[in-house]
Amino acid sequence: MIKIFNEIKAFNGLLQAEYLKTRKTWAFWLSVLGGLLIPAIMFLVIKSQPGIIKNPMHPTPWLLFLKYNWQSVATFLLPLFLVLLTSLVVQTEHRANALKKMLTLPNSRATYYWAKLLVIIYYTILTHIVFAFSIIVFGLILGSLVPETQFLDKPIPLVMMSIQIVKSILASLGIIAIQFLISLQFKNFIKPIGFGFATTLAGSIMLLGWEYVDYWPWSLPAKVSPGIMSGGSSEIFTQHEWISIGYFLVISILGTIYFSRKNIK
């Protein structure tokens, strides 16, 4: 019992350490600016062409606005963000020559592995929240600048937005687990980024119509949240989330075992 308590305390300490390390790096700014980027661009587009948000099929501009935003990020930008984020977080450690120090502290390597993984998930959540928040803010600004868009007259679909965020985060887990393991393995960050870029690109092509695309981790985010506005499931756990979680658990558990036995040179 005391052992478990100590382990939790150690994990918490490591987690805080991981946060302190990355807080002032590009990993943080990438998460914030990455979340802002597309809503800001959409804002500019709609402000110059309010017509595209008025669609008789959609009773509220919010749904269409959400759809445009999610469609723009989920196929390519979100997977790429995850690839970059994971590499940046791990790169902070490689560049500081820190593995050899961190892994001689009293904690187990497994604790270290999962603390780092969790910090990456933390930034993933952060970027999703910034994304949703920017959509709301830019929508409201649009509503006040261009009243005929009706953003101010219709309710903000907060429930649907929350579901989308959760689904998208779950669908990101597989990518994170794979990219994390690769980033840890290679000190040269070009390798994990090049790999992730290629697999993301391949995924976006597969999305055009390959039957096994549902099992391609880098394509999973595109399969969940953007579809909700056009009749996709709004259940939190569908096939795609489970596949992503499956990848995450299998890769991370194998990764932990591998990392615990690896020679740190």
Partner: protein, 306 residues
Amino acid sequence: MQNIIETHDLTFHFRGKKNAVTGLNLNVPQGSIYGFLGPNGAGKTTTIRMLAGLLFPKRGIVKMFGNNISTHKRYARSHSSTMIEEPTAYKHLTGRENLEILCKAGMFDKTQIDQVLRTVNLFEDRHRKVSGYSMGMKQRLGIAGALLPNPELFILDEPTNGLDPQGMFEIRELIVDLNKKEGKTIFISSHLLGEIEKMCTHVGIIHQGKGIFEGSMDELALMAHATKLFRLETSEPQKAESILKDRYNTKLTHDKLVEIQPADSTDQYNAIKMLINQNIEVYQAFTIKNNLEELFIQVTDEGQNK
């Protein structure tokens, strides 16, 4: 418990390379300052990485505090602290922030940070980013990180690398203080004999991955003085060397003197006689006391020829 670190037949090789460490046996007594001495590339860092549990030996075991570290890793880690080669430092953060991270990650006492920073003379610079630190300052930050947990055993890999003479002196003082005043055991590696000589109680010499001497500092000194060197200035150094080679351990010094290790005065007399009999002119012949420096060069040279 006699030895705080013990290794038996410790062996490691990197993929596709010959052994970096071969059959190494170390015995580090509790309460000692143990100098782990060897030229660059001898296998010091590789050994220390095995002591720290970063590399897994291909053969042999490491015992720390009496137990095999492969089964008692956590105990060993929480009672020792390790610093390996180029220090760990997050360059985008300040010196103090770096230590705060270590405190969080290792659950060390945060209130020690300022004290430790003062000990290594970084207190004034604690709010500066590490990217602006000199090599020596980074090294001292690494040492500060090793001091934080205040454990029984310190394992320091070339901690004075990159420091100026004043900085080296201060770190030596610090290590001797830790040992004398607080009874800590310190295992410290270096490629500089002079440094080890100045502070260590025990020494282990490693060369090309193999242990070639282990004992107290006094034993090493004794061994050094026991071996006398006899040098001869002659008209034909090369020829003289080849003549003496058959009977003595002979070498040619860089200033073209022939050097042998005589057992006694008869040996010296015989050597001179042999040369004169071969019509080589002997201008002068003299003995010198072997000092540690000579001994170190000698033993590492012998290893080279093997």
